[in-house]
Amino acid sequence: MVDQPMQQEHAPGGWLRAALSSRNLLLGLALSLVFVGAALLSFLWTPFDVTKLDIPNKLMTPSATHWFGTDHFGRDIFSMIMVGARTSIAVALVAVSIGMALGVPLGLAAAARSGGWLDEIIMRANDLVFAFPALLIAIMITAIFGPSALNAIIAIGIFNVPVFARITRGSALALWGRDYVLSARVSGKGAVRISAEHILPNIANLLIVQGTIQFSLGILAEAGLSYVGLGAQPPIPSWGRMLADSQTMISFAPHLAMFPGFSILFTVLGLNLMGDGLRDIFDPRIRRGRG
């Protein structure tokens, strides 16, 4: 709902001080770092091999050997959570990048030609994409190409495009009326250069905040898609898939559902808190508790 560019009132040193005093930001950062760290670490090391089946030790409750217990194939849940973090984060991150890479230029172009046919086409196309929730896009893509993590990325990515286009257009429009943009126009700069040199740097903060929010939504969407079998396919561990597998065993092995569920919850919570914290720092107007 923010259609005004964010104010930048901090001196360079003030940023750090504001960041360190923001409880939301620190807690969010800590939570996010835990999962990003786990994902990165999983490339080098996991306590157990997630592809190795160990049927005699299946459905074990948490213990000193298996910190989060084992699943119905005897695989170590802690290791699966680590590798699953990789899937979730990669899918969400690439999807947000697609949304930004396409949405931001479209939004900038629409704002630069505000009221013109280009603006109209871009905004109507955005309305159209908004009519397709990410899940419907995923369903269509899966119906055509079959389920995979890549198709989940494309579905969530397409859904992100209008989000970024809209927010970029809204905040860029407010900047086009500013004096410094006017003077850049007077000095002969074209719309592309003004957008790149003057508009984009001034809305970058806003895009970072929105990026954090879309990242957390991407994690939730990936989990949902994997849960219904439209995302990452076995044997690649993913949190949504782990929850789907645990469903029929929830009455006698509830721990199978707890760890992936809490991992999604804490990652999303961390990113949301980080987004709130960043917004508070970037936009002092809403620091009064409006968030």
Binding site: L128, P133, A143, I144
Partner: protein, 315 residues
């Protein structure tokens, strides 16, 4: 108002036309022929050709698109490749689960969010405000299908208050049907209620700072009267926008939640159809959901006019 209505109506029609083209083209480029798929790898070419003709697949893409659209308008969604029954009947049956579920969730979401948002805004900074903000932060972050599983664990498996899934049908009674939909509706509503409560709080806080609220209080109106007559009405625009957007999330979210509770709704139908490559069903359900989303957003636009007469003049 008339011009505003017409302009929005035109935009709605255009959106639907483009959406139908997108869906049709997307499903048309599917690799693989449904007729060959249905008959298996040993089918004779002339049998496949006969089936293609029966299903209308031998017609060129453009006339087939118009056949599809004119069928949709008449309520004829074609025949399921797999079950050989009219798609409209299959959708009709399942709609009676998915639509009530989405509406039930929307009602719950609004019933939870309004009081929570108003409480937090009117008691800004109090323990109530902190609690509402904390709980909604969790509500937004929790995956709703996981929350649904936890509710099944607690209320169906441990306490045995509800059944763990399935739907007995509306002919067993309204209350029985609603009871079967209660846990799914709560799990769908929780994240949406959390978002809505935050938007309500934020919109109300903005409004409560306005001069006209101070004037209303100075005139001698009580806090409750000021809220009802002035603040809430003005805070409704962003709240309505979010409710409109939420409907599409609820419909789409219902697809996943139906799978948690094994509800025979549109969501289950879509997944079955995908696995059976019954693409005509996928095509029709997706079009129907997009239609619902576009129409609801149109209704929200119209509601703006009712809530805020100033918008009627703008076109």
């Amino acid at each position: 108002m008339g011009r505003y209505f017409l302009k929005r109506l035109l935009s709605l029609t255009l959106s639907l036309v483009v959406a139908s083209v997108v869906i049709f083209v997307a499903i048309e480029v599917v690799p693989g022929d449904p007729a060959s798929y249905m008959l298996g790898i040993n089918a004779q070419p002339d049998t496949v050709a006969a089936l293609r003709q029966e299903l209308g697949l031998d017609v060129a893409a453009v006339p087939r698109y118009f056949n599809w659209i004119s069928g949709l308008v008449r309520g004829d969604f074609g025949t399921s490749y797999t079950y050989r029954t009219p798609v409209a009947d299959m959708i009709g049956e399942r709609m009676w689960v998915s639509l009530p579920l989405a509406l039930f969730a929307l009602t719950l979401s609004t019933l939870i969010a309004f009081p929570a948002g108003i409480l937090a805004a009117t008691r800004r900074g109090s323990i109530w405000d902190v609690m509402v903000m904390g709980i909604t932060q969790l509500g937004i972050a929790i995956p709703n299908f996981w929350f649904a599983m936890l509710m099944v664990l607690v209320f169906a498996i441990n306490l045995r208050w509800f059944s763990a899934g399935g739907f007995p049908g509306w002919d067993t009674g309204l209350l029985v049907g609603l009871k079967a939909l209660l846990l799914p509706a709560i799990s769908l509503a929780l994240p949406q209620a959390s978002i809505l409560a935050r938007v309500m709080r934020s919109a109300l806080l903005d409004t409560l700072d306005e001069d006209f609220i101070r004037t209303a209080r100075a005139k001698g109106l009580s806090v409750g009267q000021t809220l009802r007559r002035h603040a809430l009405r003005n805070a409704m625009i962003p709240v309505l926008t979010i409710i409109g957007l939420q409907f599409s999330f609820l419909l789409a979210g219902a697809i996943i939640i139906e799978n948690v509770f094994f509800l025979p709704g549109l969501g289950r139908l879509v997944f079955q159809s995908i696995s059976q490559r019954d693409l005509i069903v996928v095509e029709s359900v997706v079009m129907l959901l997009v239609f619902a989303v576009v129409v609801v957003n149109f209704a929200v636009d119209m509601a703006y006019g009712a809530v805020d007469p100033r918008l009627r003049g703008r076109s």
